[in-house]
Subunit: 457 residues, 4 copies
Amino acid sequence: MKVKCIRSKGIAHNSYIIESDGEAAVIDPRRDFGVYLNHLARNELKLKYIFETHRNEDYVIGSQSLSKLTGAGIYHGSNLNFEYGTGLSDNDEFYLGHLKINALETPGHTDESISYIVSIPSLSDEAIMVFTGDLIFAGDTGRIDLYGDKHEYRLSSMMYDSIFNKILPLGDGVIMCPAHGAGSVCGGNINSMEHTTLGFEKKNNPSLQVSTKNEFIQMKMKEKHRYPPYFKQMEIYNLSGFHGSKHPPSLSPLSATELKKRFSQQSHVLIDTRTPEDFSTAHIKGSYNIWLDGLASFGGWIISHNDNVILVTYDGYNCLTKAVKYLFRLGYDNIEGYLKGGIESWYLDNLPVESISVLTVDDLKSKIDSNEDIEVLDVRDDNEWELGHIRGARHIYVGDLESTELDISHNKTIVVYCSTGKRSSLAASILKRKKYKNVYNLLGGTTAWYKAGYELI
Amino acid sequence: MKVKCIRSKGIAHNSYIIESDGEAAVIDPRRDFGVYLNHLARNELKLKYIFETHRNEDYVIGSQSLSKLTGAGIYHGSNLNFEYGTGLSDNDEFYLGHLKINALETPGHTDESISYIVSIPSLSDEAIMVFTGDLIFAGDTGRIDLYGDKHEYRLSSMMYDSIFNKILPLGDGVIMCPAHGAGSVCGGNINSMEHTTLGFEKKNNPSLQVSTKNEFIQMKMKEKHRYPPYFKQMEIYNLSGFHGSKHPPSLSPLSATELKKRFSQQSHVLIDTRTPEDFSTAHIKGSYNIWLDGLASFGGWIISHNDNVILVTYDGYNCLTKAVKYLFRLGYDNIEGYLKGGIESWYLDNLPVESISVLTVDDLKSKIDSNEDIEVLDVRDDNEWELGHIRGARHIYVGDLESTELDISHNKTIVVYCSTGKRSSLAASILKRKKYKNVYNLLGGTTAWYKAGYELI
Amino acid sequence: MKVKCIRSKGIAHNSYIIESDGEAAVIDPRRDFGVYLNHLARNELKLKYIFETHRNEDYVIGSQSLSKLTGAGIYHGSNLNFEYGTGLSDNDEFYLGHLKINALETPGHTDESISYIVSIPSLSDEAIMVFTGDLIFAGDTGRIDLYGDKHEYRLSSMMYDSIFNKILPLGDGVIMCPAHGAGSVCGGNINSMEHTTLGFEKKNNPSLQVSTKNEFIQMKMKEKHRYPPYFKQMEIYNLSGFHGSKHPPSLSPLSATELKKRFSQQSHVLIDTRTPEDFSTAHIKGSYNIWLDGLASFGGWIISHNDNVILVTYDGYNCLTKAVKYLFRLGYDNIEGYLKGGIESWYLDNLPVESISVLTVDDLKSKIDSNEDIEVLDVRDDNEWELGHIRGARHIYVGDLESTELDISHNKTIVVYCSTGKRSSLAASILKRKKYKNVYNLLGGTTAWYKAGYELI
Amino acid sequence: MKVKCIRSKGIAHNSYIIESDGEAAVIDPRRDFGVYLNHLARNELKLKYIFETHRNEDYVIGSQSLSKLTGAGIYHGSNLNFEYGTGLSDNDEFYLGHLKINALETPGHTDESISYIVSIPSLSDEAIMVFTGDLIFAGDTGRIDLYGDKHEYRLSSMMYDSIFNKILPLGDGVIMCPAHGAGSVCGGNINSMEHTTLGFEKKNNPSLQVSTKNEFIQMKMKEKHRYPPYFKQMEIYNLSGFHGSKHPPSLSPLSATELKKRFSQQSHVLIDTRTPEDFSTAHIKGSYNIWLDGLASFGGWIISHNDNVILVTYDGYNCLTKAVKYLFRLGYDNIEGYLKGGIESWYLDNLPVESISVLTVDDLKSKIDSNEDIEVLDVRDDNEWELGHIRGARHIYVGDLESTELDISHNKTIVVYCSTGKRSSLAASILKRKKYKNVYNLLGGTTAWYKAGYELI
């Protein structure tokens, strides 16, 4: 028995390959499924089952392509009308080499959520491992807000039962394999442990330290999560099984001149994935700045599935391939090209660049202390805002900024901040597109502000 | 400018990736095209062109799948009615980054054969590299027998013109990149150099050391090549563009019992890819023995595209994956499974094994000298037979053995030989299937026989 | 926090890399330490600590080379006078990124055995993972016989305390990472689980299902293990820190003629790693047959550290590299070369081969039933022999055969068996070297015998 | 016969592995020799020879370490008193599998320079490949200035003879394998072809288009090359065989606070390898900016072998590993650590950052046109300066800037430019260290200036 975790950075997603005696199962395969095929080939394995723990909202699932190529069956929960695969109920049972895999319905995150329990009948009837999907994570539990406010009570209540009456009773010594790690938009406080057990979570997962079901429900219903617009598309894709391209789009190098020509057309979106510092010095007018590792989390707020995307990345370092992969996983198939040679090729061609000034926290403090007429904009999320923000700031979440009508004069100086300077750089690039001219990005954000000993209210 | 050669063992095929400034072209892609996609992704390249040098008879070409996934156009000669791609004529011209690629029609091996010349206009008008397909190889020229006897004169004549009037005049300093290396069924005497030039070949390629066109034609028309039955299928596939599975079939582990059950059905072919020595000691009744690296050359003589193939390989060493890949390249998509655990699992289950005895050359010499009543069968090809064989032997090429009605009594002792003991082990396995009971394989074949100082006539 | 297990096939050894925030620790590094350096480089990690769980008897440990190249400190138990590194006591504490690692003395397998407990202080005081060395395995506990009979009581008693009073109290939810997996000579019944927990082992490890300390001690003292002669050398090397070559010896291709010349000299040992079936048909006189995956377990019974080793392997399949690696891990640095082209090149050169006949279990049954005058030799280990053997057989463990004076006439027919045919093929090759002429290997051994329904007494 | 080119980016160095029949030779191995060992192991090769074409001045050669680990002999020219290896003369001959390798003394670049000719005696007496070291490159010939002015005539003269009387006569069809590709400091105009032949070079290499020996000598003596200070150290190391660390130093993550503490000590050098744009926005006071791919060419002008180096790189993208590798190849073993988390961790900690402003070419043009009192500094090399520079600029080569006493007032505004903005960013960082406060970097340098249609004189 071997279990291999395939981690997808960006969306912080975990999929798993279970293998035993030449047979394999994959749990929640991602769209770029080459990683599974390579593993199967290298280890001479036959893929027998594809298990899904739930529909998934944050990425396009690769089950159907993988199934078509390998002949493996797809299985998932039965409380949702999937247009493909087979619905399972409690105790449905599978054999994989010398392993037994049992389905266990564990609704809560969604109605159809299901867990998979692995045991080795020849050794013991007890479970050795459980795949919990988005029910429990290391240090957190799944969000229950996806169906809207009306369903939060119902889902929280089911989640309590799933966790406390079905999963935890499997035993402390069971290794727990969740569908997400730290950084996922599917949980707020997932920690960075890559290995945990039901016993460890029972004692240490903050979200499980409740004494009554009601306490659990109240806690869950107070949580605040964001729902990026691309989720809708993921739900549609994953319900029907996505039939788009099976391979990340190929990368067309565009010269500076060619990029300029295309970008002037409508429905083209220019995403610059360099660091905020780099973007600050010189960028192409009209481009969004989403730092590379934030692309999977924030691309979905900015890019529509109908847009033609053009990328500006560092030249080299494989940033381009990473960016395309991140977007591919979110179902973006139309990446039209990238600026060959990076931003340097743009300015070597003497094409015009724009800049965004940065402020240090000391700079901002002086401005505030001297009552300069500035607008301070906090683009962090609600939880962060509530934990403490700079006095006088106004709060608009970065994800909402594009669609928000701002009642700020275009001549006013705006200082944008987040907790580091990354999300605020995206915000600054949005403001520049909205014709604001005097936009500053706060270097280090609230983290540096706090370090400097300045007040957060 | 970079050129990478992708060598496919077994069929000894060379495909190439040319790259320049973020753009790439592939020449004669093989069916398992993952190798190109990986290279493109790793090096952040856009595939722009797929060039075919000719239809290819010895493997399934992967152009169409690769084109579909990348959007690259397919190009080939215009003297054949391909159902896909674009036909080219002399001097058609392509730009790839800072490279220029020119088509040059070079019929001879086939009518539509075409070569591709690479130059770097910014440096020089002269060619630096030429892709010659099956026209010239290192140490040999392509076969001209594929259309049958009637066409040999015509093709040889065209080949002479293509080589002497079109390719060699490009200049001695041009690097030559042929479509095959040593071991290919597309040429008899290709040598093992992986790098050569027109200058080197002009002086040293035995097949170019002729003083007149007529001498060349006579030489070519005397060559003897075998035409394995699967070639027909390759031609059909490659003319229309093959729409079969794009991915090697996955590998079903079969227990000894399960294999026994399936193999008893009709239309199942059991291929044992172990060494002749291993096969000799113990094998499953009815199985063919084709040593692993011979599978690409001899599988096509034995396996029909309608058969269900079951494999016996060594357990481990990645033999299985190799075997499947070799067969996949020849268009065999129905590999039903393999014996899990190898032959050991068969005999551990106390299922019956058969053996084939081996003889040393001394053993055979004694038998012959003492006039034992044995049949000695030479299964090498015509050229080898004519260069010298054991006195009293009968000649049937291994590829013809399956389909040949033998006028040999089933009780007679048969000693089979080739040049080493590998092809003769395949022959021995065929004879066993034909109910011959006393079959011996000559260990070391004519090579050992000759070393021992025995006569070859 | 990430933990990566590096599995060394052959010796079934597990070493581990723990990483957190750019820092790493390695536990029980093997001699061919490139795997760690590559991982460190690829993940941009600084190696901070090298932890040893105990001296190790079954392979050469790579701590010192790794320490020299990286500057990391070496740590181990203090109850043995290591000539390098730092001795630890209970509760010695290390910090690695945001992890805490605590030493816990857990004698039993050896006096200096020590475990390492990992916790994440920011999340919890409780352990999440424990590295148990050779104290507990998945499904077994470590052997306690290494110091000889006199110490077995003492060691078993300490082992009980270490397990039941120190390790298990850490909690059911602790992930357990032992130093060996299935197939190790350091435990008899280790199972093939690659992931386990203290909770799972507490309930399911057969060796922990005792009700009293005394019961545990009695059980342990009844176990029988073999002590291969090379262990002595490993203990010497690992006590002082081995200063031999840091890199597997390079591979000299020897032509058949050259091999013949060298092998005729003294102190050369010829190891043929092909399968028993292959060896059976043709091998070089005087060679030992140890199938490749058995080389790590049985090479140490046959090869002295002063021998010059020459290898015969399959040509291709990377068998050679594997064989050299297996031997390198056991401290064998003088691998002089290998037969280029494999056994085929030997017989193509018309050099003489020998063969060993195989018998099926039916063949043997007939011989026994018809009272043929044969010697039947069982070369399995004591436990296997006691569980059931063929009537009339004599028992000599394969590892003892080389050094045992046999009172069997050289003309007698000997049939050797084990449980499959592999160890018996080694035994047969030893007997051939001892000038026995009529040696047969039983294909399928007791497994096939039992399947055939024949009696084991 | 296979030849694999190992390209080392940064120094644009080519080393080669030649293999034939299980034996291998390496030509000019680099210091981080793992790449050769891996290749040898993966392909089951025995390293037989290590050939050096000359001493090498631009990197530390790895011959001795490689020799020690593999037992292969080292060979080089005999006109220099190497403290290791064996000196060769014309026609010394080696056999590698079925290849013959001949030494050919080809002085010119240095006195001891030697070439290696490969032929395949079984096919032809003629050469198929030649390894020319620093004698000829694709599109250029080696520099002849390393021994100082007095020797230029002598070396040029010898170079002419080596090329025209020894190498080119080998034949047009010979594949040429030089020791450097485009971007090397060992040649000024090497082009980006990765494959060339003597025939192609003879016709197209600008440096070979001379009609007399004297013309060649005059041309060579007019060339201008820079001699970075680290060359001296390379020559010492390579003459004696370097006994420093064999493995790139490991990477210590330093927190912002820790870095601050260490950097305040003497003899610490802080190298920031981010892009000029990134550095411009925020960097640590006192750091040098050398963009990553320029580190191998410009690190040697800045860093002494006694300095303790601390690195600032992007977090992720494997920039760190690349930077360490580049420096390791130049003999820098004391890389003390790197800023964990990149520059972000510095400013999140509210530690002070500095910035350098950029100017566009339009900005600079206005300043010049309006006669602002600025100093314009051209830091390109002599050849570039002479081909055209901005009117009024002063010329100091970037490599000389650190050691040059500037007679510019510290209050004056200085605009630095090169051809792109990279070398000028290094120059700007040097000026900042020299206490110049108003330093501007010209974005796009002369390339953008020229594109804008402004004059270069």
